[in-house]
Symmetry: C2
Subunit: 438 residues, 2 copies
């Protein structure tokens, strides 16, 4: 297996389950040096606010700014950058944003309430968060599509202020990121990054108000800082390496499927691309296509490492079995590249996003189909969801008990409260019993 370009497995092998588990195994490591550094940065920013943020930005990003005001980018500047983009690029950005917005509008759910026959009203009120922080990495991992995918759901949810932070190493700004911020409706942009930016958002400083939640990807320092401030603010999931699982019946052109595997593998050497098919001959042809196409890819080294270490072509017994394996893997991205893909999609219980049919390549979803590209990784689709409007809203229960309702509820509550030994709870309910009042 070690010489080949990608691992080959067969679900019939006795060791298949164990081999699959080793292939999927991924442990994110916590580095004590990073943890300690982050801890001290957080503490410093909590105590010293802007002064500390500025100090670390000078130190880590080599910015020359001497005030926070210099690190802020105005919305007008972003608009200028957007207008200076090549026409095609600007249109693509705006078209993608529009589609993402349209899809996410459907995720809005209304508050509701109902009245019982005794006049008691119960309900659930849905409200947006007041203020959200969006982390956007600097340098090579700065993706304008991420700005759209994180900021648009927040604005659709009704968040009043989306504050974007993004580091500018040596003061270099990424024009596509700033343009995306303009298109997405970001409200404020500050060119700071790292643990110091997370701390500023989580605790607030003289110039940055405390946010309610921080979303967006980042390096190990940012991920660690987010974990530390969780509880003071909400955070999104800390993502593992990106993954794709493809189920193919053998009718999609092999070059398409090979390129879909590449499109995952090119992200990162730890990214995972797996193909399941009942057609051994098709798997062989995909492997040939991988070998044939690999050389031409600018990111071929990353792709090759990813496929060799973490990729696999898996011969399965049937498409039914492929769906069972998919449910075990609970992949971030699942392509069902088959005829009548809906039939197989109906059997899928756990996946971040399900792409159906040969024309639904993951890359279309990554940029512009409409659904979010921030998805649960590393089997967490078993219990978590794509980033969405619901991540920027929260619910409050509504309880308006009528005088009559209190008579029924009070008798139940006191019985249970005494059973739990909570006498004040019981008395509080009993006070509302009219016969016992006065």
């Amino acid at each position: 297996m070690s010489k080949s370009v990608i691992n080959r497995l067969n679900s019939k092998d006795i060791a298949f389950k164990d081999n699959l588990k080793s292939l999927l195994a991924f442990e994110s490591e916590q580095d004590d040096a990073i943890e300690n550094a982050v801890n001290s940065i957080l503490k410093d920013v909590k105590q010293n606010g802007d002064k500390a943020v500025l100090k670390y930005s000078q130190q880590f990003d080599k910015v020359t700014a001497t005030s926070m005001a210099e690190l802020e980018v105005s919305l007008a500047e972003c608009q200028v950058v957007l207008e200076s983009l090549p026409q095609e690029q600007r249109q693509a950005l705006e078209a993608a944003a529009e589609r993402v917005r349209t899809y996410h509008e459907r995720q809005k759910t209304p508050s509701w309430s109902y009245q019982e026959s005794d006049g008691t009203i119960l309900g659930q009120k849905i409200t947006p968060m007041d203020r959200v922080g969006l982390y956007v990495p600097g340098g090579k991992a700065a993706y304008p599509s991420s700005v759209l995918m994180n900021a648009i759901p927040a604005k659709v949810a009704g968040v009043k202020e989306v504050v974007m932070v993004t580091p500018t190493p040596n003061g270099q700004r990424n024009p596509l990121v700033l343009a995306a911020a303009a298109v997405a409706g970001v409200d404020r942009i500050i060119t700071i990054g790292g643990a110091q930016a997370v701390a500023a958002l989580a605790y607030g400083t003289e110039t940055i108000s405390q946010v309610d939640k921080i979303v967006g990807p980042g390096n190990a320092f940012v991920a660690s800082a987010k974990r530390h401030v969780f509880g003071t603010v909400g955070i999104d999931m800390v993502a593992g390496p990106s993954e794709i699982l493809i189920i193919a019946d053998g009718k999609t052109p092999v070059d398409w499927i090979a390129m879909d595997l590449f499109s995952q593998a090119e992200h990162d050497e730890l990214a995972q691309a797996i193909l399941l098919s009942p057609d051994e001959n098709y798997l062989n042809k995909v492997e040939e296509s991988i070998i044939k196409q690999l050389e031409a890819m600018p990111r071929k080294d990353i792709i090759a490492t990813s496929l060799k270490n973490r990729g696999a072509l898996i011969k399965v017994d049937s498409l039914d079995e492929a769906c069972e394996i998919a449910n075990f893997i609970a992949p971030e991205h699942l392509e069902i590249s088959t005829e009548n893909a809906q039939v197989w999609a109906d059997k899928i219980r756990h996946a971040g996003a399900i792409f159906m049919g040969p024309f639904s390549s993951e890359s279309l979803g990554d940029y512009c189909a409409g659904p979010n590209h921030v998805l649960p990784t590393s089997r967490t689709a078993r219990f978590s969801s794509p980033l969405g409007v619901y991540d920027f809203q929260k619910r409050s229960s509504l309880i308006q008990v009528s005088k009559q309702g209190a008579q029924t509820l009070g008798r139940i509550a006191k019985e249970l409260a005494y059973g739990e030994g909570l006498q004040s709870h019981a008395r509080s309910a009993e006070y509302r019993l009219v016969s016992e009042e006065k």
Copy 2:
């Protein structure tokens, strides 16, 4: 202030904001000894499964069982316990469960999809988790109402298997907890607890299948274990001390309000009970009522400590200002004990549960009004929600791009992919462009 039974603040004081912040301040401490112990228990159970779980149960809970089977309680046993309860207690339990179920049924949201004019279908599929673990503390903090509030939303969500774990120190079982499990429809009950129970649920053992999420309260060991296994499984929020904030216009009987403050304070010395009113005289009378009623309360020591250290009666300028302060505090429980409470509730953006009008005591909500009593604490209602059906479901994006749709989307995607330097993404989209294909 130090001699009084409860702190008194006035929103007009210059130091008010600072005083309020110190009153609210609560830092949950992480104890290194606990962290290390938990780490080693988790590792042991991950490696040695049932054997390790059994060992720790013998060690910590002094159980005499020598096999996991002995630690399992059958559903039939729970049913027997339920039927042996006093009639009134059983009816109260069943009535509460029924009301909780009815309310949570309203939280279910359907999957949806829509078709675009070019045939592309986009949507969102909602599915329940397969298996959920419910932790129920043993000893004095074993609340049957917690069993209802955690298990019922999971069953309403469609979770097939709810596995309850609860320690039985010295083998002693809590009949009310077992009865509640029967009423709530729990599927499996294992009398294990502590970090070893969390590990068994998170990793799976020979006799316990891995779950997708673990919910329910626990001591410091349980809370630490849940934090550690987060990512392998989902967890609910680790709760801080419980809180109530009451806004009163002065028309609710003072004894009722004092008892409502007690009902929060009796939970825990760290619990927080705060009353806001524009009527100074009313606040004085509530304080008198506190003094008058305290002596008779069985849990008076806990109540007195809680009120003295963390409680407050706050004179505010107006009910409008009270609502502003409530939004800053983002309380777990908010009682609006006023006339036309709905008017003030409309101004509340952040609260776990809003109780409106003098008859809506928190205790009614704790047991049986219908909404969940697992609520966000420590200002986290700014970004999180009551436990609900949505916590036991997750979403998958659905993307079925038509051939025609791929022509539009492919052009947008390739433009953005090239902009981000992800050439395989671009090629994967381009392959679906018919004019460029073949």
